[in-house]
């Protein structure tokens, strides 16, 4: 830490170094709130994560080919007609509710709610135990959304009817 000359320790000349624990005081235990320099501590980890993610997609790219079906044909509608997977929850909602609800009100409310979240939830606590309402509401939303996405993506077949993915596979990436 100190930039002073190592041969002088607090005004006294250093005569030798003896290995072992310091004679007095305890070794400092690093605390979670202590500051550490970004380089190297955080940057090395970021570099490792970055390389890992990159390797992962490169290996995916070697193992699995991206799909390419026949050329687009406006006169031949596939059945089922599926939106990309990240819109599958919306499409699933559309099959149950009026389009104005499922296609406009729900996504609009989700976006507005997400944007407004930090201005609605003014509870400063960070521990989940002290913010039960927020955690429960958010988790329920997340679970419902993931379930709807899964259903729309994998459990829907011709005319948007229910199929088991192990019987018929209609998911498209």
């Amino acid at each position: 830490m100190s930039d002073t000359d190592p041969r002088e320790v607090e005004g006294k000349r250093l005569l030798g170094i003896v290995p072992g624990q310091p004679a007095t005081g305890e070794r400092k235990v690093p605390e979670e709130q202590d500051l550490v320099t970004v380089w190297p501590h955080l940057l090395v980890r970021h570099a490792v994560v970055g390389v890992a993610v990159l390797l992962f997609v490169l290996i995916l790219g070697i193992l699995f080919d991206a799909p390419l079906r026949e050329v687009a044909n406006p006169f031949e509608t596939p059945n089922p007609e599926k939106a990309p997977w990240y819109f599958a929850a919306l499409q699933e909602l559309l099959s149950h509710f009026h389009p104005l609800v499922a296609g406009v009100l729900v996504p609009g409310a989700v976006i507005v709610g997400m944007i407004a979240l930090p201005y609605i939830d003014r509870n400063p606590a960070a521990r989940p135990a002290l913010r039960k309402v927020a955690v429960v509401v958010f988790t329920s939303f997340l679970v419902v959304w993931i379930l709807l996405t899964l259903i729309g993506f994998a459990f829907r077949g011709e005319n948007w009817g229910w199929v088991w993915p192990w019987d018929e596979w209609h998911g498209e990436l």
């Binding site: 830490m1 690093p30 605390e31 979670e32 709130q33 202590d34 500051l35 550490v36 320099t37 380089w39 955080l42 940057l43 980890r45 970021h46 994560v49 970055g50 993610v53 992962f56 997609v57 995916l60 790219g61 070697i62 699995f64 080919d65 991206a66 799909p67 390419l68 079906r69 026949e70 050329v71 687009a72 044909n73 406006p74 031949e76 596939p78 007609e81 599926k82 939106a83 990309p84 919306l90 559309l94 389009p99 296609g103 406009v104 976006i111 997400m114 944007i115 930090p118 201005y119 939830d121 003014r122 400063p124 606590a125 960070a126 521990r127 913010r131 955690v135 958010f138 498209e172 990436l173």
Partner: protein
């Protein structure tokens, strides 16, 4: 004599010696790529469980998408008469064409997941709370931009999968009251998905949306750094498991003091 000790090296790196911690901090500020980081972070931020490194993963995926995307652009003309043929050429004749296309597509799908998961992790850590509210809002826009980029890119192969997925996706706009019909027409450029749609989605995908995305991302990263430094000036503002319990955090953020660090 090492490069960084020559005249040329000094003019580039500025800080020739990196022996003490202080030299490292000084060198830090002279490096452009490093300057997006704060100098120090709390030790807890190093752990995987803190962030799951989802922000880094999203950024790396974005970089992979930019590089693979620019490569693919060289072999693709956004017109219905050529698009599908170009895709076949990419998959069969272009050097590494199929591989680069695969990387681009899987990176895109993964990025949707990592950005959404990043958001969820930030929620559970409570990291959207003051003074970080506005960076959360920027994050919401980055998620929407990620979805739009993915969706506009989905049309470009011009195969049945692309065509009908986009037909379904854009038809939802029709249900928006008053402006829905015209919004859809502006996006699609007519009654149904066709040549006008392809060029519009292409330009949105390769130029307009990436520009907006990069602008938002720069602000997002910049505020992340600012907030990390803010933490260090006012210990009560930290994000530790007991943050906010002693009170003192409810004070309005943004007094004159906060900007002093940088």
């Amino acid at each position: 004599m090492k490069l960084r000790e020559t005249n040329v090296g000094r003019s580039i790196f500025r800080s020739p010696d990196r022996k003490t911690e202080r030299d490292r901090a000084a060198g830090h500020w002279s490096s452009f790529l490093l300057h997006i980081y704060p100098v120090k972070v709390r030790r807890e931020e190093l752990h995987f469980r803190y962030s799951w490194y989802l922000g880094v993963a999203s950024t790396v995926l974005l970089a992979s998408l930019v590089v693979s995307g620019v490569y693919l652009m060289f072999f693709y003309v956004p017109s219905p008469t050529t698009a599908y043929g170009d895709m076949q050429t990419i998959q069969t004749e272009v050097a590494f064409g199929q591989f680069i296309r695969n990387v681009h597509r899987w990176s895109a799908h993964l990025m949707v997941i990592t950005v959404a998961a990043h958001m969820a992790r930030v929620f559970y850590r409570g990291a959207y709370k003051p003074p970080r509210e506005f960076n959360w809002v920027i994050g919401v826009f980055l998620l929407i931009l990620t979805l739009l980029l993915s969706f506009t890119g989905y049309l470009l192969p011009w195969d049945q999968l692309a065509y009908w997925a986009v037909t379904v996706g854009t038809s939802m706009a029709d249900f928006v009251p008053f402006i829905g019909g015209s919004a859809r027409e502006v996006l699609v450029g007519g009654d149904q998905v066709g040549a006008a749609t392809l060029i519009r989605f292409y330009v949105l995908h390769v130029a307009l949306l990436p520009l907006i995305m990069v602008a938002f991302l720069l602000v997002h990263l910049w505020r992340w750094r600012k907030d990390a430094m803010l933490d260090q000036e006012r210990p009560g503002m930290g994000l530790g498991p007991h943050a906010g319990e002693e009170g003192g955090v409810g004070a309005p953020p943004g007094s004159g003091k906060q900007g002093g660090g940088e």
